[in-house]
């Protein structure tokens, strides 16, 4: 890992840097604020009073009630979970591959998940739309296809990693493998009908809004279990920071640590990709933001920080994507790119300066 990046200087002056306790407080407050904001703003403007009434189940307007409970709540929970999942998986990948630009999607995980989805959506030939066509079975098949796709790419990359000890080489292997998998997807697209291509294209824009409560009932347990596995990798991740040799000298089983990290990433990135599409940039950008804010590389701090900031950024993106006050919406990936892109650029430039100096 390169030396921790300090983004805190961007918005907090060095002398008055807040203590961690204050930071945690601010973050939690921000998340609660964003949660309430997302509940109360949207294409349909609902006065705060009415929103509160509806939350207390006192509202009389059934439509508004449904907008809050069945449209906004699932969307918000999806954003929070997906943001946290992608960011945690990004943190894991960056440490495992010691590459500042690693993310859940660079190892071909995203491509693998995409191939799984494409096989279900485009391969059935029945004009199945992405968010299901035959109820829970379609949901589950889509979901399993995505995770299986992600996992099988990871297994291949992992088996290669047994031979290739160099993490950078492994990263490149992952990238190239991802490209090969993507080319399979484009072959599938080539032979598909217009409606199927359209649903696939819309899926690639990314969206939290297609997730209903019943889909959330599958997505949430998957992400939570992925996060639990990820939590057990905090200590090995810290050891990996000091180098693989050091980690090994500490008696750490690199093999099993890697396996756990890759398993949780497959579950996290695969399940989010299945339900929300390939959402870019969050996974790479959020870990950097957190290292800068908390000025540490300690995963015991970074893990919860990444969780909170990832969830918050995903929610901000979602709020922005639906252009509050208008009926129109923007593709989610456009927003995450606008938010995450500058952070990644900043990391690259900062690195170059560090190398040159």
């Amino acid at each position: 890992m390169a030396k921790p990046f300090n983004i805190a200087h961007c918005f907090i002056s060095g002398r008055n840097r807040p203590s961690r306790a204050v930071l945690w407080g601010m973050l939690s407050f921000m998340l609660i604020f964003l949660f309430l904001l997302a509940l109360s703003v949207g294409s349909v403007s609902i006065p705060l009073e009415t929103t509160l009434d509806i939350l207390m189940h006192k509202g009389e307007d059934l439509v508004l009630h449904r907008i809050i409970w069945d449209l906004r709540f699932p969307k918000i929970f999806t954003a929070l979970l997906a943001g946290a999942a992608l960011s945690v998986s990004g943190l894991q990948m960056q440490t495992l591959f010691r590459n500042a630009l690693a993310g859940p999607f660079v190892l071909g995980i995203n491509a693998g998940a995409g191939l799984g989805v494409a096989l279900v959506v485009l391969g059935t030939g029945a004009g199945i739309t992405l968010m299901g066509n035959a109820g829970l079975i379609a949901q589950l098949s889509l979901f399993l296809a995505s995770i299986l796709g992600a996992a099988s790419v990871l297994i291949v990359v992992l088996s290669l990693s047994q031979r290739v000890q160099n993490n950078v080489t492994l990263l490149i292997v992952g990238l190239i493998f991802g490209m090969m998998v993507n080319s399979l997807v484009s072959v599938l697209i080539y032979f598909s009908e217009p409606e199927e291509i359209q649903s696939y294209l819309i899926w690639t824009f990314g969206s939290f809004r297609g997730v209903t409560w019943d889909k959330l009932a599958v997505l949430a347990p998957a992400i939570l279990s992925g996060l639990m596995i990820a939590l057990t990798t905090v200590k090995p991740l810290n050891a990996l920071l000091l180098g693989e040799t050091y980690a090994r000298s500490m008696g750490l089983s690199l093999k099993s640590a890697r396996r756990l990290i890759i398993m949780s990433t497959a579950i996290l990135a695969g399940s989010v990709t299945a339900f929300c599409g390939p959402i870019g940039f969050l996974g790479i950008a959020v870990p950097h933001l957190c290292r800068g804010l908390f000025r540490t590389s300690d995963h015991r701090v970074l893990f919860p920080a990444v969780l909170l900031i990832g969830a918050a950024l995903a929610l901000i993106s979602e709020i922005a994507a639906q252009l509050p006050g208008t009926q129109q919406t923007l593709p989610l990936n456009a927003i995450t790119a606008l938010l995450g892109g500058p952070v990644i650029l900043w990391v690259i430039l900062k690195r170059r300066i560090a190398v040159n100096a």
Binding site: G42, L64, D70, L71, L130, M131, N133, E195, R209
Partner: protein
């Protein structure tokens, strides 16, 4: 005329090369000789019947060019369509498609020169097409009945996709191997299309250079007629694009005859809803991943709904293209709407509910008042609504009136629409 066709379709003809400077194509075209001649022969045989009805100079080539003569005695008047205009200039016509997908975007100009007369100078921007064109390829099912109506089936040499065809006439051509399958958009087979060497390819544009077919075709030197019938704000405007196709074949008279008939019938059906007491509320489309694709308030669909005596909830919107709305804004506005039309591929309410359980929040869903325009699908999902529906707007309108005001058309049986159960 027969020798004419053989000459025209013979790949070795030197003029052919000037259109396709790429040598690899030229080689391909040499190889096509035998195939081309055979096809031309088949052409001759099948063309025989259709030629009888209109034997006039406008159908063939001019041998003695007279610069004072008006070669287009039958001039078109465009009444409803807003997307194209035409002006006549003795031996050529100028045609303009100003805004094929949006105002201020790309536009297309054509100079249609009577065969056997010189091409006018000074139109570098325009595509110069010799008319009447002898061969055509259509890349959208929406033009099938234009081709058939204008008596051009014998000139059709290719379509985009065999699997999605409903038209019996086109199916017959496929069965007899008279036409080729060339794909479109991302899977357009450019080499194959070039090899067929059509006089004109009829397609549409959406403004997406990575998907639209016209760009690569035109770069190749193939003439492309860019349709924008889907952008017309009225159903009659959309149907009137049959005249646009007719211009390339000097079939103005026939097109006017056909269209006047369509317009008369449409107006007659429309009269029925003039005095309806109540206009039921209606909305369209469905959501994909949380974004709702709704007909634009100024689209031909909005006009259909108005003419059918319904109140389209987004009628005050001014877009001709479909709107991308948030699910919640649609729910807010349309939760109590009486009817819901055009739900994509759904064949049943269960399919809708499985896709997104929140569709059941709409009153129209609970009451079973969802009508989809997919009653006539072929085995591969090709929808006749996008073929025969285009030239029969009066029947589509009748379907809708039957839905909203069944008492007005007691004898009408739904053609393309069906209630979802």
């Amino acid at each position: 005329m027969g020798a004419e066709i053989i000459k025209e379709r013979d790949g070795a003809r030197p003029e052919g090369f000037s259109v396709h400077p790429d040598t690899s194509v030229s080689r391909l075209m040499f190889r096509r000789n035998l195939f081309g001649s055979l096809l031309a022969l088949a052409f001759l045989l099948s063309a025989h019947g259709a030629q009888g009805e209109e034997v006039q100079t406008s159908e063939g080539c001019v041998s003695n060019y007279d610069q004072n003569k008006d070669y287009f005695p039958d001039k078109l008047k465009v009444d409803h369509a807003e997307g194209f205009e035409v002006s006549y200039h003795k031996h050529y016509k100028r045609v303009k498609v100003a805004a094929p997908w949006k105002e201020g975007g790309e536009s297309f100009e054509y100079v249609l020169v009577q065969c056997g007369t010189p091409a006018p100078k000074g139109f570098e921007q325009a595509q110069i097409v010799t008319v009447p064109a002898k061969t055509l390829i259509v890349l959208s099912t929406t033009y099938f009945y234009f081709v058939e109506g204008l008596g051009l089936l014998d000139r059709l040499i290719g379509i985009a996709n065999f699997k999605r065809v409903n038209s019996p006439a086109i199916l017959k051509l496929i069965a007899r191997k008279k036409i080729a399958e060339v794909g479109r958009n991302v899977d357009l087979n450019l080499e194959y299309t070039a090899r067929l060497n059509p006089d004109i390819v009829m397609t549409y544009g959406t403004g997406n250079p990575y998907r639209d077919s016209y760009g690569p075709l035109m770069q190749f030197g193939i003439r492309v007629g860019v349709f924008a019938e889907y952008m017309e704000p009225t159903p009659l405007g959309r149907a009137e694009w049959i005249k646009f196709m007719a211009l390339f074949f000097n079939r103005e008279k026939k097109a006017a005859l056909l269209f006047d008939n369509i317009a008369r019938q449409y107006e007659a059906v429309k009269q029925g809803t003039k005095k309806v007491a109540t206009r039921p509320t209606v909305f369209t489309g469905k959501s994909i991943d949380g974004t709702w694709y709704m007909s634009g308030g100024n689209s031909y669909m909005a006009a259909f709904l108005k003419d059918a005596g319904a109140h389209f909830l987004w009628s005050d919107n001014t877009s001709r293209r479909s709107l991308h709305l948030d699910f919640e804004s649609v729910l807010k506005k349309a939760a109590d709407a009486d009817y819901w039309l055009n739900t994509g591929l759904w064949k049943s309410l269960a399919e809708g509910r499985a896709e997104d359980a929140r569709y059941a929040f709409f009153a129209a869903f609970k009451a079973g008042r969802i009508y989809n325009n997919n009653a006539l699908l072929n085995s591969e999902g090709g929808n006749d609504y996008w073929e025969r529906g285009i030239v029969n707007p009066h029947l589509v309108l009748a379907d809708m009136i039957k839905i909203f005001h069944p008492e007005l058309l007691p004898d009408h049986k739904l053609e393309w629409y069906r209630p979802l159960e």
